[in-house]
Every structure is written in C-alpha cells, then in structure tokens.
Symmetry: C2
Subunit: 93 residues, 2 copies
C-alpha cells in the first residue's frame, strides 16, 4: 500500500508536466483503477516505472497491492480537495 | 519583444512547477506588469534569469522592452483561453 502523501502544488504540477505521465493520468481518469502493465504505453519498463514513481510520490496516483497485482488509481478526491479545479482543467485541455 | 508562443499544456505545467517561478507568476497576477529586477527574490542573477526564461519560453509570461526597461507580464488571457480554469486553480492554491 502507498502511504498517503501530502499534496504539494509544485510537485503535482511537475508530475503532470510530462506527456507520458499525463497519458497515464488520463487513462486512470477515463477507465478507472487499472493494474500496472496494462496501459499500452510502449517504452522501456524502467522509464515507465520512473513515471509511475513520480506520479505516486507527488500523490497524484496511489498504487495498492491486490493479491499479486498492483492496482493504480487517480487520487481525484484528494486532488480536488487540495487544488479545486486543477485536475479538471488539465483533463479538459 | 517576445514572439507569441503556442501554449503547450505540459510546458505550461512544467513552468509552473517550481516555487520561484510560481512566486513570479503570483507577483505578476497580483501586481500587474513588472520591470525585471524588482521582484525582491534573493538568488543569483543567472538562476533568476533561467526561471524567467522557462516562464517566457512556455508562454506563461511575456517580456517587452520599454526604453531601457524590460517589462514582464502574465499572459493571462492566452492561458485562460487555452486552458480554462488552470491558472485560476493554481493562483488560488
């Protein structure tokens, strides 16, 4: 389980400032919670892991273990509470 | 004069993802157009110049020459048009 992280505006903006990470966030926003490895993004596993790490450490996503799977979710409620309107404006863009 | 730059979401988010750059943006939002060198931020001039460059290249701010002065402005209308609600949500945070 990921520890709950305090959301810091600059960390969240940085996490969202990369096209691959934005794609992951949009996927989670559209499709809901998703197991790792099913995002259909073609890039080296180490690079993709790095992007997930940045998203997780900024608090934008959470990753929980469910049996042998790791499930990612967008921390939409927490983001909306901390920075009202931010996530929606990014997803709309 | 700064050329008008196309606003790209990830570039704008990256430009806003640094505490010093956010402070510059908040200053421009609160105080209006401001000459370079009057932001009261204590850091090496080269570092500050770098932050202004990132803001300018992302299209978040514009810098225009006025006689010997260089005047910075927040490109609020362009940002609001390209990404409705984004700037406001960041300034509110």
């Amino acid at each position: 389980m990921t520890r709950t992280r305090k959301l810091v505006l600059t960390n969240v903006l940085y996490a969202l400032s990369d096209p691959v990470r934005l794609r992951i966030v949009r996927h989670l926003a559209d499709e809901g919670d998703t197991a790792c490895g099913t995002f259909g993004i073609r890039m080296p596993k180490s690079s993709l892991s790095h992007h997930f790490k940045v998203l997780r450490e900024s608090g934008v996503i959470a990753t929980e273990s469910e049996g042998v799977k790791r499930i990612n979710s967008l921390r939409r409620a927490e983001l909306n509470k901390a920075f009202p309107g931010l996530l929606d404006s990014v997803l709309r863009a």
